[in-house]
């Protein structure tokens, strides 16, 4: 079911919310005593650099979309990659949090793949529900899959940070939202088991893992169970797309971050009759689209969103 502890826990954790600004410091102390000491000592520069890196999140490129608000989502995706190419601090890699395509068509996926390739960076994908229509993601996984199994989920490590890439858009049930399923939850629990609590965790998923707005499907039915496995970790950052706007929620040690699309905006939760593409004028469109830079310094993530307006 959806997260049933959202309200109470949020109210309860106001102080933790306020403390977020210093969470990185707390984490550094909790996460690595040697490192915390080393920061004040000669040679600390090297240690800090070992876990200092940035990566860029791209989401919801919807190649194949042809609605009035943006009939050329391939052009706006290219603009996003022009921005990425111009970054002074080159990202270590990219993530794409799904809805690469609009209709799961091979030609749409290939167009996106060619544009993403221009960055010359390793790219980690998770599928959106638009990438799995009709074929359960077969065409998507053939191009972007990293899992050794057909299931699609996987994990990787970079700079001391553990990344978990989840699939919550398959086997969706009538009346529900996103779905991880028992197999994936079991895998996740096992995957995290060997990690020390001081390991920063970054979760990639397409749909929000928390009940952001369930009546528009902006939730993951069994997301709370997945998050339960992460409670012992000092720093958990959940990056997702799906809702084409920036939303943030902090719940104890977990920050939830939804990203902008590179194709079209969607309305704020509950604003209007449904979650379809939001009509904006051509001169405003690019202010509603964007990419996200995530910078890790000594295990602490800082997030900066940049619109395509520049």
């Amino acid at each position: 079911m959806t997260m049933d502890n959202t309200g109470g826990a949020t109210r309860r954790k106001v102080l933790q919310c306020m403390a977020w600004g210093s969470a990185g410091v707390l984490w550094t102390v909790a996460g690595g005593i040697p490192r915390a000491h080393a920061l004040d000592q000669a040679g600390s520069e090297q240690l800090a650099q070992a876990s200092t890196f940035s990566f860029v999140q791209v989401s919801d490129s919807h190649i194949g979309f042809h609605g009035d608000v943006n009939p050329t989502p391939d052009a706006t995706l290219k603009e996003a990659f022009t921005q990425i190419g111009a970054m002074k601090n080159k990202p270590a890699f990219l993530i794409h949090t799904g809805d690469v395509s609009h209709l799961s068509k091979p030609v749409e996926l290939d167009t996106a793949k060619e544009i993403v390739k221009t960055a010359g960076l390793e790219t980690f994908y998770v599928p959106g529900e638009h990438d799995t229509i009709g074929d359960n993601g077969k065409a998507f996984f053939e191009r972007f899959g990293r899992s050794k199994t057909a299931d699609g989920w996987y994990s990787f490590d970079h700079g001391g940070v553990h990344f978990v890439a989840l699939v919550n858009v398959l086997n969706l049930q009538s009346g529900g939202g996103g779905n991880l399923g028992r197999d994936q939850l079991e895998w996740l629990e096992a995957d995290l088991k060997g990690k020390t609590a001081s390991t920063p965790i970054v979760v990639l998923a397409h749909m929000p893992l928390w009940a952001l707005y369930p009546q528009w499907g902006w939730s993951t039915d069994d997301g709370a169970q997945a998050l339960g496995y992460m409670k012992r970790f000092g720093s958990v950052t959940v990056l997702n797309g799906h809702i084409h706007q920036i939303q943030q929620k902090i719940e104890g040690n977990v920050t939830f971050q939804t990203a902008q699309s590179t194709a079209f905006p969607q309305p704020a939760p509950g604003d209007g009759p449904g979650p379809g593409p939001m009509k904006v004028s051509a001169d405003k469109l690019r202010s509603t689209l964007g990419i996200r830079n995530i910078n890790f310094v000594a295990g602490k993530p800082s997030i900066k969103d940049a619109s395509l307006m520049g």
Partner: protein, 125 residues
């Protein structure tokens, strides 16, 4: 940063209410048509607007072909609920249609497999 709280709580309540409503409507006799009424193509149509199937419950006679039309800019699908796959459309892009002929009486619940909060019912009797 806490402003979503109210929305989330309201969303859970509204979501539960919406589901109950859909089930209630499936059992309502109000929308049934006289058996002798000839099923024209247009009346047996379910439109998709703003992520909603309309009407939420459609009652037809056995042998009727029902047409779904997607008016959204978002693609949708039409898939029957249940372990047996009776009908499943491909991606319906804007103004795309899907048809299915209901031969046997019964209550058929369906949903959009891309946006599963979208549900509807066809009653055949």
């Amino acid at each position: 940063m806490m402003k979503l709280l109210g929305i989330v709580v309201a969303g859970l309540l509204a979501g539960a209410g919406g589901m109950a409503l859909a089930h209630d409507m499936a059992g309502m006799p109000g929308m049934s048509q006289p058996a002798e009424q000839v099923a024209a193509a247009e009346p047996n149509t379910i439109t998709i607007d703003n992520f909603t199937f309309g009407p939420a419950t459609l009652t037809v006679a056995p042998g009727t072909t029902v047409t779904w039309i997607n008016h959204d800019e978002e693609p949708h699908t039409v898939v029957n609920v249940g372990s047996t796959r009776l009908f499943k459309s491909g991606a319906l892009d804007t103004d795309d249609k899907f048809t299915f002929t209901f031969d046997k009486p019964g209550t058929y619940q369906y949903f959009c497999s891309i946006h599963p909060h979208m549900t509807g019912t066809v009653v055949v009797k």
